[in-house]
Symmetry: C2
Subunit: 348 residues, 2 copies
């Protein structure tokens, strides 16, 4: 591991997922209580009569959030929700979080209280306790690190790696809105920077902006699936866009997929706002990210039960890996699914 | 909580522990599995037939570490050890960690591998698995966030809040070395900055520098206490110096203490190196920090058993809260113990 000290590999050449895969190759789990390590939405730990799931996320000012348009209370809410969403993506119930916070002295106590107010509000929605913390200073900027744990019965844990051929692919809610909300916030920020006397024009965009600033983890879907007696065959949450998450799920399961453009759930306001930015709404759904909806597969035998649940859309099916992953567009053309970066989204 | 939005309270006016206490006041735990929230070395979660402990730490470049003299492998090792030490301080056994890492692109893949190499080495020493991670970029600098979990039998968990009057106060190993190691590293850095052709003079300082760069969590002490059938009545690990940790333990237990200067274990090399910096070795032990030794109390009935364990020193006893916390110095004078900042250490 340390042989070739003079060689320099740029991190950019790997990307985040390449780096994680690379690091994963260095790690060998040995503790008998480790059921699942790196490679899913959360790790899984054996707790005798149940499993614990454990996930963590690091949020860096200037990379993950922009305080010029993100109220601190929303930021705290979202930071907690993002981790809670990872717990739900394992079909588990969140129970506790810890919060590490580092801030420069440009923040006041009142500002920190706003942030924690948002975190605690998110916790309250799902009966989660904030049980630990670390506070520290930074030379500049804000860093938030949240870890969340939850519990699940041993026979109910759902991984991203267990999709089967012919399974139906489902998503909750609708996609692409959070990305368009971000575009609007960025546009108004630019206008404000150029002319500080202009008030931001957010009228009529409430829904997509709220999807960006105040995402809701889909605990209701986990509950609805449980009530309908459906155990998904695989699951992942949509943080980086449908395309990227589908490819993760298919790669982990060693399968392919077909999804249908006309089945992808997109809110009418998202479609309308996409026009303003000359963005194809399907591309916003595929590559936009930050929707924090659930992407999961179910057995065909659960089709009728799933259809009866509001806010679940069946968008395609799982295939053999050899068939690859593809989108069938509205004109019946088949296009391979790629995990596009956001930069490539403007000219569609 | 959000009433007085126009008032600004500077964070500096509270300090880290004041901020944690303040935030603690906002939090009310409701989840039935939460046994202990904020306020100890780790949170405690009920896992049916055992307790889980959970802790996290945030390390920020330029605040917690200086890469100009900290090799990345040592940094990784220390970052993991600091969290593992918190797990031991609950009398628990560490089992898994998660690592969140954010770096700017000035770091290469090889550098990140060095860091993880150190983390994995620390994990290996105690059979800990690295089970989760998050990697991200920063505008500048490095941020490391580690969470550690462990397990302990329900009747074996040890808090900092349960010391009893007349209990004996013990520390493991020796104190003050890590602080003097840091002084030497800082001195050599300054000399190097003024004249880059001068090689650092670290000869004869190996031990104190290693105490700073490569601390060892005291799992051996937890094991030795267990083998000797001693269950500490309270425990905390020494990250911020003996004085600060003693005050935390006494405040949490609502007790006072008397400790004896001549009983505080200080390595001869620490004493020697303290002379170079005109620092009183006792002050280095009381206020230096980063020794990651264990501070704990035992019942008087365990005195003989504790005396038989090498590398445990009995340094004093617990009193009623009304007696306050004091050091009896070598001339039999009693001085109240204060949590001194490092800045106040130079003129002793």
């Amino acid at each position: 591991m340390f042989e070739d000290k003079n060689h320099r590999t740029e991190l950019n050449s790997l990307g985040e997922f390449g780096l994680i895969r690379h690091l994963q190759g260095l790690i060998e789990n040995k503790n008998p209580s480790t059921v699942k390590g790196i490679g899913d939405d959360a790790a899984v730990i054996d707790r005798s009569d149940h499993y614990e799931v454990l996930t963590n996320d690091l949020l860096i000012e200037g990379v993950h959030f922009d305080l010029s348009y993100t109220p601190l209370k929303h930021l705290g809410y979202k930071a907690a929700m993002v981790n809670i969403s990872d717990v739900f993506a394992m079909n588990a119930h969140p129970s506790q979080i810890t919060v590490g916070l580092a801030v420069s002295n440009r923040f006041s106590l009142e500002a920190i209280e706003e942030l924690y107010g948002g975190i605690l509000l998110a916790c309250e929605r799902f009966g989660v306790d904030l049980v630990g913390g670390d506070t520290s200073s930074t030379p500049s900027g804000m860093v938030i690190s949240i870890s969340a744990i939850g519990r699940v019965e041993k026979d109910k844990v759902v991984y991203r790696s267990t999709a089967q051929v012919h399974d139906l692919i489902c998503v909750s809610g609708n996609l692409g809105a959070a990305y368009i909300g971000l575009q609007i916030l960025n546009r108004e920020k630019q206008i404000f920077l150029e002319n500080p006397s202009v008030q931001p024009d957010l009228e009529g965009s409430d829904y997509v902006i709220e999807r960006q600033l105040k995402p809701e983890a889909r605990g209701d879907i986990i509950q609805a699936l449980h009530s309908a007696d459906i155990l998904p065959t695989s699951m992942i949450d949509i943080s980086d866009g449908l395309a990227s998450e589908l490819l993760h799920l298919c790669a982990a399961s060693d399968k392919g997929c077909r999804i249908y453009e006309d089945k992808i759930p997109i809110d009418p306001l998202t479609v309308l706002k996409c026009e303003d930015f000359n963005i194809n709404p399907t591309i916003s759904a595929l590559s936009g990210g930050e929707d924090y909806e659930l992407l999961f597969t179910i057995s065909q035998s659960d089709f009728e039960k799933a259809k009866a649940i509001p806010s679940i859309s069946i968008i395609g099916h799982i295939t053999e890996a050899s068939a690859g992953s593809a989108l069938i567009d509205k004109s019946d053309h088949e296009t391979p699914i790629r995990a596009q970066g956001w930069d490539s989204m403007k000219d569609n």
